[in-house]
């Protein structure tokens, strides 16, 4: 048993209380430990990815109890890839939070940040559905604290909406888990995969309800229309580094759908047929359209970015809903791209806020540090809108290619291409209002103070530039990354090694013992 598999959960779980207990009043010590923790996470994540690259399924039995009696952590290509993505994102977001001083504008930013990482990592690694619920709650309760970090009326109100929506989501999750347990008698994912197939054709009512409820829960997390209402306000009002970190949270929902609906309820399972092509795909197409309309209609930059997140989640879910190995591979590539692009845009919107004091998309005086911010915005907007040469374009190309053989090709191509055009117009409008038209405005007494604002400091630009570099790397090494996601999708569609590793690995209680 390889103990490194639990390190991404344990490390932040230890770092968070340590930061609170030992360095409560010393922000510089907190920063050092938090950064060191995230760097260690990156190192562990790289090690795990290398370990699982050849198709190995790593298993960690907590307390040495054998599945399905004990809780297991499982690392395959998908899990370790998401862990690496999370830790890379966390590093640059944390760097930005430190550089811009956001972490010092309220209490306990660093420990909440670490708890959030613990929840996300655990959700990616766990092999047990109830444990997935618990890690969801860990990441949510940390995100409640981060969401209202540094306070303010508008943020508190957005926070109330966010918390209430997610509480309803958690309740739904429990209902889904209860029905699954009532139908199958287990909550271990590998064990479920074996048992769901055994349910007789006349007795599928309960498990169908459970599958739909579970899809609803993940759709809430992934902000699928019509369950997206929590996202625009909370992402727009959250502190910028927190919103950037939240870019991975919507992907937890997408991960849940990929994991559960390839392994437990595979597309060829008769009981849940129609769930992904009849329900998920149209909803995902509407998400793409609505996200792009939101980009056009947004009156502030942060709302624009929030709607672009909804649109790109729609793209991911369109690709997932096709449920072929090629489309899942495309979805995984797009997940990496969309996480990085969304986080970059949220951080850039904070650079704009620092430079000119507000985010309204109206013509105002040029902001402090226009040139550098404009270049970064230009690159990130190209990536998000899906223009060549960056990874958004490649991702969309892969999704369109995966959709080519299906019956709905006309719908998918039309929606995606028209939505892309609209989003290009939306981003171009925002960019020209923010950066170009500003030069034509003459200073009045009201606006003169904007000239005196400080530019964002160099480290902020380094953090955002690091994310942009990752986006460019995602484009340059697209061949390798796509090859990896193809392997990952192949592993997902052949779950037998995963299941046998989890079920057959010996541990306590795995063989009937004498005294019973």
């Amino acid at each position: 048993m390889n103990h490194w598999l639990i390190a991404p959960v344990i490390l932040p779980a230890l770092m968070a209380p340590f930061v609170v207990l030992a360095a409560r009043n010393h922000i510089s010590i907190q920063r050092v430990f938090s950064l060191a923790g995230v760097l260690a996470l990156i190192a562990v994540a790289i090690g795990l990815v290398i370990e699982t690259m050849d198709g190995t399924v790593m298993l960690y039995q907590l307390g040495d109890w054998a599945a399905p009696f004990g809780i297991v952590l499982v690392g395959d290509r998908l899990s370790t890839m998401m862990v690496l993505l999370t830790s890379l994102l966390a590093f640059f977001v944390l760097l930005y939070a430190i550089a811009s001083g956001w972490d010092d504008r309220g209490w306990h930013f660093h420990s909440l940040f670490q708890f959030q990482l613990m929840g996300v990592m655990g959700a990616f690694l766990t092999g047990d559905l109830f444990n997935l619920f618990v890690f969801f709650e860990v990441l949510l309760i940390a995100s409640y604290g981060l969401m209202i970090h540094s306070g303010g009326n508008r943020r508190m109100r957005a926070g109330v909406q966010y918390v209430l929506f997610n509480l309803i989501g958690s309740t739904l999750f429990l209902f889904a888990l209860g029905s699954i347990y009532a139908e199958t008698g287990t909550l271990n994912m590998a064990d479920l995969a074996n048992r769901v197939g055994l349910i007789g054709a006349e007795e599928t009512v309960g498990i169908r309800v459970a599958a739909v409820l579970l899809l609803l829960v993940f759709a809430i997390k992934a902000a699928l229309v019509p369950l997206h209402f929590w996202l625009p306000s909370s992402y727009a009002e959250a502190p910028a580094p927190v919103a950037a970190l939240f870019a991975i949270m919507t992907k937890v929902g997408a991960y849940g759908i990929i994991r559960v609906y390839t392994m437990i309820f595979p597309p060829d399972l008769e009981a849940t047929a129609g769930l992904h092509d009849v329900w998920l795909l149209p909803a995902a197409l509407v998400s793409v359209a609505l996200g792009m309309v939101g980009i056009m209609a947004a009156k502030t930059l942060n709302r624009l970015v929030a709607f672009s997140v909804i649109g790109s989640m729609g793209m991911i879910l369109v690709s997932i809903a096709l449920f072929t190995p090629a489309s899942i591979a495309a979805a995984l590539y797009y997940i990496v791209h969309s996480t990085l692009a969304a986080a970059t845009l949220f951080l850039i919107s904070d650079l704009v806020r620092t430079g000119r004091g507000n985010l309204d998309l109206t013509t105002q005086q040029p902001m402090a540090g226009t040139a550098m911010t404009a270049v970064l915005f230009f690159v990130a907007a190209i990536a998000m809108a899906g223009l060549p040469p960056l990874s958004g374009f490649l991702g969309k190309l892969l999704v369109l290619d995966a959709a080519y053989d299906t019956n709905l090709v006309v719908w998918i191509w039309a929606t995606v291409l028209i939505a892309s055009l609209v989003s290009i117009v939306g981003f171009a409008r925002a960019g020209s209002v923010l950066f170009w038209k500003a030069h034509g405005v003459t200073a009045t007494d009201d606006t003169r103070d904007a000239m005196l604002r400080e530019r964002p400091n160099v480290l902020s630009y380094v953090a955002v530039g690091g994310l942009v570099t990752l986006l460019i790397g995602n484009t340059v090494f697209a061949g390798q990354l796509h090859g990896f996601t193809i392997d990952t999708a192949a592993q997902l569609f052949a779950p037998d090694p995963y299941i046998s590793t989890v079920i057959d690995t010996p541990g306590k209680l795995s063989t009937p013992q004498e005294e019973y």
Partner: protein, 118 residues
Amino acid sequence: MEFLVASAIGTLTSGGLYLLLRLRTFPVIVGIALLTYAVNVFLFSAGRLTVGVPPILRDDITGYADPLPQALVLTAIVISFGMTAVVVMIALGAFLGSDNDFVDDQPESPDDRTEGGS
């Protein structure tokens, strides 16, 4: 007993849903509390309803209750209790800050923008 438990879950859920749709923080929080009670009872019944049997395997006992849902319910109770406490605090903060307790977005007032826009 099945009818009693099922109707209790149904009543709690419908009451909770009704209160959720009231869109003021206090009824919504009470509604969520009712929903979590409903889901706790629901989780219990997921392990089949039994009366007067122990949740432990022994040699001389033929029937026993499923212990796993009981553990799940315990976890769910602890989590929902903590979450309710958090939402009460945040809702209080939002109410004291903006002097109304509507959950949905209200038309913007000018003083909101200056305070929270940092």
